[in-house]
Symmetry: C2
Subunit: 424 residues, 2 copies
């Protein structure tokens, strides 16, 4: 379903020379014997996920269908990026279906919170709060304020219907609060870290509430599990990508720019940045993840990529079939001289821009390009893509001799902040 192409990357090593190291990493992943093996629950998740809970997610979405102008998703990091990336990719940026989805609890900005608060004042809302412990400060603060707002707006029973908590299965502040208030709860598994959690209740519940067909998502996820379970590099494009990144890093490329040609994929790039950056940015190692949306950013970052410091490579994340297309119209007067494109599909022009840019960057600019191609931006493809990147990331980081599943550096700012906030 997903194709990987290194023919524009001018790799200075042979990918297949890495077979032995890849097989070892693969075995460590599947046998849960490598670094961070407490957090590899995602590896078998396409098979092992809780089917009873999955049905509860769909039932909750069904129950609330049509009763909500705005869905508030309150979470940060892995409890924010995956759901947002999924919903934007599959619904697009100007989807007219209800509910509108607003992400909150992902910032301390007072202006952001107060503006959203005013915006939702007269709207019907549903709130999904997502936090493993319930103590993540951004999310806990926003949740308290939104809970109070909803308790003013709705009866206790209505709040119980309209507030859904995704949290630890048994303990923690949020779990206790939710049980006491009578909110339905969904589970963040113990052995799946935030950045690998988009196809647990963390991402699936917001997707379902936003009207996305999560059965199709999980179908693609399961397909990828089957397609990518072979460690043989010849048969595994995810592992090829894992290796290609390391080869490019070895040749002096310190930054990877994930490039899409669809604005609705911009948040996929943000999700990818967390996945790769947080997994490998340790011990003074790792490739700096950055991103761009073309052709938009060809008119901003394009100059640097083409002629600036030769420190980066691009990874194109391309889509074969756009969700919507149209035909460029003719114009009798042709005052704009654009009739040479009349009758062409809009997407064809996008594809030509991509081809021309690839040639410009690769040949003239001497910038290596890896190419990942997906069939479309629909549900099955999304599920497939998640597993593709999960496996690619885990193996790529094992090749660097780094634990892909912890994030010790994220705690440092929190510790300082808690001291300044006067938290015990």
């Amino acid at each position: 379903m997903i194709k990987f192409d290194t023919s524009h990357a001018h790799l200075q090593e042979n990918i297949f020379d890495y077979q032995k190291a890849v097989t070892l990493a693969h075995t460590q992943l599947h046998e849960k014997s490598g670094a961070g093996n407490d957090f590899v629950g995602w590896v078998d998740w396409p098979k092992s996920y809780d089917h009873e809970e999955f049905e509860r997610i769909k039932a909750a979405a069904k129950r609330l269908e049509g009763q909500c102008d705005v869905l508030l998703v309150c979470g940060i990091g892995g409890s924010y990026l995956g759901a947002r990336a999924a919903i934007e990719m599959m619904r697009g940026l100007y989807c007219q279906n209800k509910p509108e989805v607003i992400f909150i609890g992902n910032t301390f900005s007072s202006t952001y919170f107060k503006q959203v608060e005013a915006y939702i004042q007269d709207k019907e809302i549903v709130l999904n709060v997502i936090s493993k412990s319930g103590t993540t400060t951004e999310t806990a603060m926003a949740f308290r304020m939104l809970k109070q707002l909803m308790e003013k707006k709705y009866s206790k029973e209505e709040c119980q219907r309209r507030i859904l908590a995704t949290t630890d299965k048994a303990r923690g502040t949020l779990k206790e609060l939710a049980d006491k208030e009578g909110y339905e709860t969904f589970v963040i598994p113990d052995d799946i870290g935030g950045r690998y959690s988009v196809l647990t209740a963390v991402g699936l519940l917001p997707m379902a509430l936003a009207g996305i067909d999560i059965d199709a998502v999980m179908k693609g996820f399961a397909q990828a599990y089957e397609d990518l379970k072979n460690p043989d590099l010849h048969d595994n494009p995810a592992y090829q990508y894992a290796v290609a990144r390391r080869i490019l890093e070895n040749s002096g490329k310190d930054a990877e720019m994930l490039v899409t040609y669809e604005p609705q994929m911009a948040m996929i790039a943000e999700w990818w940045k967390q996945l790769f950056g947080e997994s490998e940015g340790k011990e003074g190692k790792g490739i700096l993840p950055c991103s761009a949306t073309f052709s938009t950013d060809l008119h901003s970052l394009g100059q640097f990529i083409q002629e600036g410091k030769k420190m980066l490579y691009e990874t194109l994340l391309l889509v074969e079939a756009p969700t919507l297309d149209g035909t460029f119209p003719s114009d009798a007067e042709n005052l704009d001289n654009m009739n040479y494109l009349a009758g062409k599909s809009l997407d064809w022009v996008n594809k030509m821009a991509c081809q021309g840019t690839l040639e410009a960057h690769e040949v003239t600019g001497d910038v290596p390009n890896l190419i990942i191609t997906m069939p479309d931006m629909r549900e099955e493809t999304f599920g497939y893509m998640c597993y593709f990147f999960f496996k690619a990331c885990a193996v790529s980081v094992y090749l660097l001799n780094v634990n892909p599943f912890n994030q010790p550096g994220v705690e440092v700012y929190k510790k300082n902040m808690f001291r300044l906030l006067g938290k015990n």
Copy 2:
């Protein structure tokens, strides 16, 4: 109005040792004697801008006030980023004032175009098309389709009222078309490049149509002109920033991450990326511009910054007074254990997060931090900030011995694309 602080950057050279080179760059800028001197019209623009046209911009906004649900701004690169950055910073992300502003003509994505087209179908619209020549393909394609849509929706006279063109003063495809159709036109000056154009009609007209007080913007812009006209580094924080970037680059930092703590500033970072990346990314030189919004991205890129490869420094773009603030409420039951913050202002918590993060990245993470502090996100500050970054950028790039005002690399993909599109 804007303060600059290097005390967390551990600079390995003395900024003031660069005085001679800075004075030379300053003189070349003000006397129009350096590289790219055809494009330094922005230097005196706070004084020399066309006051008659400025009044026409305000009159157009006044005339269309209240008659528009959606303002479509059709442009790309410098004809997109500045206006979007300005409007988001000053209005915020969930502003409820009309019009809603949608940016278009900045992508070839068919899905994006078709979704916006459906979204505006039953809404009252005003269209501002922005293109120097009128031949920029993304913008010209979108404009033709939107023009046809508006001609179906409105009478010829109404289209003449509702379509505004910002283009060359005298020639080019768009100027000819606009004159023939009877659209009011506004001028993109010949001697100001796209990325320096936000305070010409290019950015001012969308801002005014969006209800922003452009008199106040230009007041801040003029204030910065006065405050930053002294080449003495002791008195010029913009030039200090220009030098500090080069010192950090000399010490092996290849990437600069512009960090804000306000989601409504995220597009300012995108605008800044074009300004700096396109100005200095030439001849194999330049610092890779990237960006993050904290605390959101502390939960994604934070790990890499804290413990990953030591290749980057941060530039914090901080805001003293938020546009809106609130008080964190108490809760009788305190089920979430958050009462220790009850009575605190939301913005105070944001400031503590910033202080804790600065310490984490600087001290524990060994990442240099430059700090630029602005008083607020209001009109005067926006105008002031633009000039601050313009001068900082131009001088910083002159110090690198690069022409800050051309962008030869942007043409390469276009040339290839035109060949593939079959354009003569």
